[in-house]
């Protein structure tokens, strides 16, 4: 089994190790200089990597560990990220209450720009083919006199990254080294220093500046040895390749189209005031769901999972036509949408918005349910983009002295908005594991110490990823056949069973 293979193979007793080269982890031939020894080295400065660093710095038990972060992009840009109030980044994530609780625990929540963050209390999900729907909220479980309970919080990724960087900065400089604009040139096994420690089972990284500059070429590359090497370096993680951990997965042949939109003011005020709703409509004939997630000041972020051809079409539309397509996607039948996706643009000088004309006409003949979002009235310039959707899961998250978190460990379909939350869950679990190891005299990089993390997270993440994959497949079967009938029946039934729905919502919330 590959899990035990990657776990066992690098473990060789010291007498054997000196004689035999381990198959894939390379030995360094001769140490140029002794590498600097760190307790935790995290490769990757995204939300997961920064979250781990912030969590370690925030806890008194682990704050004195010597930690380093290596990130190829410029973290100064992330630190100084700033957008006007009415503009929002198009990479926005939905944070579950347990992720929010984790951020609060490590002291990063108060550093978020809360004016740019939006809670929502209800989620409407329905099937575009059959109309069956389910709505998620905590109304059954809370009293009408309390404030409505939050289902999730929408946060721009850049806002979160900036808050985490501030948290790390607030913990001071001691025992902390951040290598910004730096890439890892190689990862190798260390060597046995005769009048020093035996680092032959330790990963030693050679890091160098990302961009060549006159100053950088004169400096020798820096070598750092890691007691625990954490791979937070994305879907094609080099750390994962070093640890020889295989991944399973496939590409969905779908793209997620994102955009920042402005919504019209709703005619009737919401009750209770300030309540915001997220909307998701499954479009089986078009390849995936369209979701509209609320942002402050009556804005919203769009995530539309569809085929690459449709994604290219949507991105090529002028703003008005794009807006009409988004409005149509929440209201019209599959037949109309398939037709509208093939409509040719008449010409640049054409004033008439054909998509809008189609939308207006068809709305007269398509009965509308009452749980649809408000009409979209504007799209932010240059915010329409797309990214490919994939499913990946590492066969194991740990190897001696290596742990994987975030996208390096798992990539899932965005239809349930769980990707970033799984990453933060990994961070919380790994930081707890490191804390436990430190207080119990365990080597934080030891496989026995890391097993705690793997047990907690591997199964849970596999489950969530698997469920999202199943939902994607279920809701990609077009037409009104038995699959559509079955999934509609299931959705309707669950909507009417409060204890099942509550259970599902608690599972999605995560362990707080």
């Amino acid at each position: 089994m590959s899990a035990s293979r990657s776990a066992l193979r690098p473990y060789v007793c010291s007498s054997c190790r000196h004689g035999v080269l381990a198959p894939r982890r390379r030995f360094s031939s001769k140490p140029a200089q002794n590498p600097e020894i760190y307790d935790v080295v995290c490769v990757g400065g995204g939300p997961a990597g920064l979250g781990l660093l912030a969590a370690l710095r925030a806890s008194p038990v682990t704050s004195k560990l010597k930690v380093a972060l290596v990130e190829s992009q410029d973290l100064d840009k992330a630190r100084s990220w700033d957008l006007p109030t009415h503009e929002f980044s198009n990479r926005v994530s939905s944070l579950t209450p347990s992720s929010v609780a984790f951020l609060r625990r490590i002291g990063a929540l108060e550093l978020l720009d809360t004016d740019r963050v939006q809670d929502y209390q209800q989620m409407q999900v329905w099937d575009g083919e059959t109309g069956s729907k389910i709505s998620f909220d905590w109304a059954e479980e809370t009293s009408p006199f309390e404030d409505p309970r939050t289902v999730a919080t929408m946060t721009e990724n850049a806002n979160l990254v900036r808050a985490l960087l501030s948290r790390i900065e607030a913990s001071g400089d001691e025992n902390l080294k951040i290598f910004s604009k730096t890439t890892v040139s190689s990862i190798e096994n260390g060597s046995d220093h005769p009048d020093g420690p035996d680092l032959s089972a330790w990963p030693v990284l050679t890091v160098a500046p990302s961009e060549a500059s006159p100053a950088s070429t004169s400096e020798p590359p820096v070598r750092i040895a890691a007691r625990l090497l954490v791979g937070a370096d994305g879907i094609n993680s080099p750390v994962r390749s070093f640890a020889d951990i295989a991944t399973e997965g496939w590409d969905y042949n779908r793209h997620g189209v994102v955009a920042t939109l402005a919504l019209s003011d709703s005619e009737a005020p919401t009750f209770p005031a300030g309540m915001r709703t997220a909307f998701q409509r499954f479009l089986p004939a078009l390849g995936g769901p369209i979701a509209l997630l609320p942002l402050p000041n009556n804005h919203a972020t769009l995530v539309w999972s569809t085929t690459p051809e449709h994604a290219a079409y949507l991105k090529s539309l002028p703003p008005n036509a794009f807006i009409s397509m988004v409005n149509a996607a929440f209201r019209l039948s599959m037949t109309d949408l398939k037709y509208m996706m093939k409509m040719k643009r008449v010409g640049e000088e054409e004033e008439v918005n054909q998509h809008d004309a189609e939308l207006t006409w068809r709305l007269q003949h398509t009965p509308q349910p009452n749980h649809i979002p408000p009409m979209v009235t504007g799209v932010q310039e240059r915010s329409v983009a797309s990214f490919p959707l994939r499913f990946r899961h590492a066969s194991t998250y740990i190897s001696p002295r290596v742990a994987l978190i975030g996208d390096a460990a798992h990539v899932i379909h965005p239809l349930a908005g769980q990707g970033l939350n799984l990453g933060l869950g990994d961070v919380a679990s790994l930081s707890n594991t490191i804390e436990y190891a430190v207080t119990h005299g365990m080597d934080v990089g030891d496989l026995l110490s890391l097993e705690r993390y793997s047990t907690e997270r591997w199964g849970a993440n596999a489950k969530v990823g698997g469920v999202c994959d199943l939902l994607h497949k279920l809701y990609n079967v077009p037409g009104q056949g038995p699959v559509a009938w079955g999934r509609s029946l299931g959705l309707n039934v669950i909507d009417r069973l409060p204890f099942v729905k509550g259970f599902l919502m608690r599972q999605a919330e995560g362990g707080a």
């Binding site: 035990s4 007793c13 007498s15 004195k64 420690p197 035996d198 207080t439 496989l447 026995l448």
Partner: protein, 349 residues
């Protein structure tokens, strides 16, 4: 158990002792005494190492190379190790030794540990890791300032030292002397320390050198023909300063523990978790027996101390907690399960 271990086995032990080449990093006084055993006759050696059972020694020495394999035969020991730290922390919290400040910030790391029968160093190394390298490093609830670990098997000591070098922190403690591995037995160590004390002309007549003595999975492996648990415990208690704790873990000698530890745990793979021959049910010790012996030992030691503070009248503190292994979940402290199998125990001098 044979009445006398065969000479050939004993001579093998002596030869291995003589041919051991120890790491030059050890600065302890052990190197001076390494030549001593080689010149002893087997009978003298046996008298000296009176609590060591020779085939137990060879059994565990044979497991030496796989001692640190996380998936190997010692896996359950590795999994139990964190709970040892927790149990020690519990003892220290109830005892509140040396915490004169009484505030909730981390108490000072000022306890000197002795680990008897350290084997490949699972506990010893983990405790040495918690010794703060610099004053700014926060301590842990075990508050270790130094660790001396002893084991009669030279092969195991060698393995322990080699593994300790794979962690720079532990390696630094090995070099500075805060962490020592000694290939010796309890009796020999006691004699040596006694001689040193006599040499200092009884400046500190109040006794022992160590604040904490640990005895994990040892008491059930001593040779009943040459020593008794009571004697062994008393010898260990003698090395403690007043108010110090003797902490250990062992297995109860009851029918459930027979089933679990002798039948199931030593069954062939995939059911079993330890190699055959690791345990001998007749040598297991029940909690009440152990309590009796330990308390007797404390009384004996107290009566031999010339302590003006009248510690002899202090109540005898005894802690005991059962611990169970759940496959897939690991070890969990289960109070009340002492007579079912493994348990931690502690007694205070």
């Amino acid at each position: 158990m044979a009445a006398r271990p065969s000479l050939s086995r004993v001579s093998r032990v002596i030869n291995s002792l003589a041919s051991t080449s120890f790491s030059s990093s050890s600065s302890s006084s052990f190197s001076s005494s390494s030549s001593a055993p080689a010149s002893l006759s087997p009978s003298t050696f046996l008298r000296r190492h009176s609590s060591v059972s020779a085939d137990e020694l060879s059994h565990f020495s044979g497991l030496a190379n796989s001692w640190w394999d996380p998936m190997g035969p010692s896996r359950v020991l590795h999994l139990m190790n964190p709970l040892r730290h927790e149990f020690i922390a519990t003892c220290l919290a109830t005892g509140d030794t040396s915490n004169s400040t009484g505030n909730t910030t981390s108490p000072p790391a000022n306890l000197h540990y002795l680990d008897i029968g350290c084997g490949g160093g699972i506990f010893a190394e983990s405790l040495a890791r918690t010794i703060p390298l610099t004053p700014s490093v926060p301590g842990t609830p075990t508050r270790a300032a130094s660790m001396t670990a002893i084991d009669p098997s030279p092969h195991l000591i060698r393995i322990a030292r080699a593994h300790a070098r794979t962690d720079p922190t532990v390696d630094a403690h090995l070099r500075s002397g805060h962490f020592k591995y000694l290939n010796t037995t309890l009796e020999e160590l006691s004699e040596r320390l006694l001689k040193e004390e006599e040499a200092k002309e009884a400046e500190q007549p109040t006794g022992g050198k160590f604040d904490m003595v640990t005895l994990f999975e040892v008491i059930e492996h001593i040779d009943p023909n040459t020593s008794t648990p009571a004697t062994f415990l008393t010898n260990a208690l003698r090395l403690l300063k007043p108010g110090g704790w003797l902490v250990g873990s062992t297995i109860a000698r009851t029918f459930p523990s027979f089933l679990v530890n002798q039948v199931i745990a030593e069954a062939p793979w995939p059911v079993g978790v330890v190699p055959r021959g690791t345990h001998e049910w007749s040598k297991f010790v029940n909690p009440d027996e152990l309590e009796g012996w330990a308390k007797d030992g404390v009384r004996t030691v107290r009566s031999q101390l010339h302590n003006p503070s009248g510690s002899q009248n202090k109540a005898l503190e005894w802690l005991c907690c059962g611990v169970m292994y759940f496959p897939g979940l690991g070890w969990k402290m289960v109070p009340g399960s002492e007579s079912w199998g493994n348990y931690f125990w502690a007694v205070r001098v």
